[in-house]
Symmetry: C2
Subunit: 374 residues, 2 copies
């Protein structure tokens, strides 16, 4: 990670979220290099995975990204106001009520059902002009997308697509993070068979895990998401991405415990022998998952220390007995995510995945963006 | 819950978070009535438990609340800009670097350690005026607060408090939500004994669970938090609070599944017999916990339906086979938290508590505030 601004820590902040824009740029470039000649699109839904669309999207555009994916129309509107000339796909598609915003902000809906196709095509025909769309094919995820029966409707009545310029057709892998899972090949074959029923210019199937999938999965475009933000794209391979997010929390109090007692809610942790307990300014309201109680770890000057007791809304308690006394100072800071505490390890201990850890990072951090991104 | 504005649902929104200000007022009034003559302070940290400080705090003030608790200085600053004349306690206290904001915004720090007392007292003496402070005593939580040894310092050298007007002394119960837990009595006795060592005007010990604790725990003030926002204050008693939060998500697609297949990431759910699957626009990025995969429930026109498969970042899949076909319409809405889906049940299924569910509610919802609050 880029060196960070210690001045930020000397101010009034309780906790700080460092976001390394330079690392995002490096990750995008690595992704492009490994998946070329496929285009590398960027998935920036959920506020760029919690890291701030407003700062992240321009960096990606500057690095050469021209195609972006969001989930909600409102996210597309926000992105269009940042970037005037990129293509923006809206994954949740079109329905009666959101066509106007889609059109006005030049957002391309990914149409997921016959009803969505009909809504958007009717809107185009009412305007009397050809309007761009993408179409999602369900190749086995059973989540969003047209299935084989739906596509037969177009074969029987191609006029249903009148008004639409289908610029992209996509699907999504259920098990992409397991590169040997037979489901991937099944989905690829089904997708290749079904996409021929549509007059689409380009196609995509793989997301971040595409980095480790055979190039036959890359098609025209790979949709990079978690990898851009430093998360491990697959469960089995070492993570080649650079760390992007680092959360540091202030030490509010350090306490010597010299008699047996309990720590935190539910008296869940028992201190048996003389110890030192540090209470830090981060909690589940900041996205430090409550499931990390008695499981998480923090890092103080290179030394890992355990979370003891339950995670509170605004506080976490650490056993810092093993850290030299002069390195645990009230008012100082500790790393809780990133900076020695691996994001994917945090997620695993919390019983989830890095995607959820990032997207739940709260709004109370002072957010410090590092690196010019160039 | 107050009747809500269906117009909001006809617009472009993917998902809507209704927040019933009238219910918050009712909850505050109920809390006051049950804990009188103790003062009822309101805990509005973490953006009023995720529900929006800017809208919630003025309602509480209008209902008669004159004392508020926040965790971070920045939260206190935001609250002061909303309410000029209330008392605002900042739970994380004072350290070198945040005294200026505390003072300028007339925030009263809750001093948690000798170092914090020294910082704030030195600031007061340097200004040559008496400044208000609260002091936190650790009565058994081992999280924040001065312990018996710390308090002995003041007995030996009362001059350390010079410059401070100690307006409040507080502590926090580890097991307040279990009204019969012996720890409560132990903490009460220790707190009563230790607080006498401080020249404080008023004292508080209980939070929301104080509603079900013996009045001897109420002291001068009870600090209401989760109860105001509709969460169950204790694990054992029926919840007397009114529902405040209701999350509704749009149905993006309804799919008939007539052949065996799997649903979602990891192919985690298997559909064996003919079913209907609805995909809705809410996911873990919206605070719908990933741990609710295959465990959560949604409610469609009064009928509860199960979440099937994993929770995605932006999507959840429901088995809606049991709901009449005309009631599950693409473009329609379902309740996922509140409105037939009890908040505390959601939390329990997710393996957590209502506090975490509320504070992690994401930023993508269209937020609709209901009730004038009067």
């Amino acid at each position: 990670m880029t060196s960070y601004d210690l001045d930020a820590e000397s101010a009034e902040s309780d906790s700080i979220l460092y976001i390394d824009l330079n690392a995002i740029r490096i990750n995008y470039q690595l992704f492009c290099a490994r998946t070329a000649p496929a285009e590398c699109a960027a998935c920036v839904k959920a506020d760029a995975y919690g890291l701030g669309l407003e700062r992240v999207a321009p960096i990606l555009a500057d690095a050469g990204c021209t195609t972006f994916f969001v989930a909600h129309v409102a996210e597309g509107v926000a992105l269009r106001e940042l970037l005037d000339s990129v293509r923006i796909f809206v994954l949740h598609g079109a329905w009666p009520g959101n066509e106007r915003n889609l059109f006005d902000y030049r957002l391309t809906p990914v149409l997921n059902s016959l009803a969505q196709v009909n809504t958007w095509a009717a809107f185009a025909r009412a305007r009397g002009e050809l309007i761009e769309a993408a179409i999602h094919i369900d190749s086995g995820m059973t989540r969003l997308g047209l299935d084989e029966n739906d596509l037969k409707v177009f074969e029987a009545d191609p006029g249903q697509l009148d008004g639409l310029s289908v610029v992209h057709v996509m699907s999504h892998l259920s098990c992409g993070d397991e590169q040997d899972d037979a489901m991937n090949q099944v989905q690829l074959e089904r997708f290749q068979r079904l996409r021929r029923k549509l007059p689409a210019e380009t196609a995509s199937l793989a997301a971040s895990a595409g980095l480790f999938l055979d190039p036959k999965f890359h098609l025209d475009m790979v949709r990079a998401g978690i990898a851009l933000y430093g998360g491990r794209p697959t469960a089995r391979e070492p993570n080649p991405m650079s760390e992007v997010a680092r959360v540091r929390a202030r030490i509010l109090q350090v306490r010597d415990v010299d008699s047996p007692r309990t720590v935190g809610y539910g008296a869940a942790h028992k201190v048996a022998e003389p110890s030192r307990i540090a209470t830090i300014s981060v909690g589940y309201a900041d996205g430090y998952a409550r499931s990390l109680g008695s499981l998480g770890r923090a890092c103080i000057e290179g030394i890992a220390v355990p979370v003891v007791g339950r995670v509170s809304m605004d506080l976490v308690t650490l056993d810092v007995s093993e850290v030299p006394r002069d390195k645990v100072v009230e008012g100082g800071f500790v790393d809780v995510i990133g900076g020695g505490i691996n994001l994917d390890d945090v997620a695993q201990k919390a019983g989830t995945i890095s995607y959820e850890i990032l997207t739940r990072l709260g709004r109370r951090y002072r957010r410090v963006y590092l690196g010019s991104g160039s």
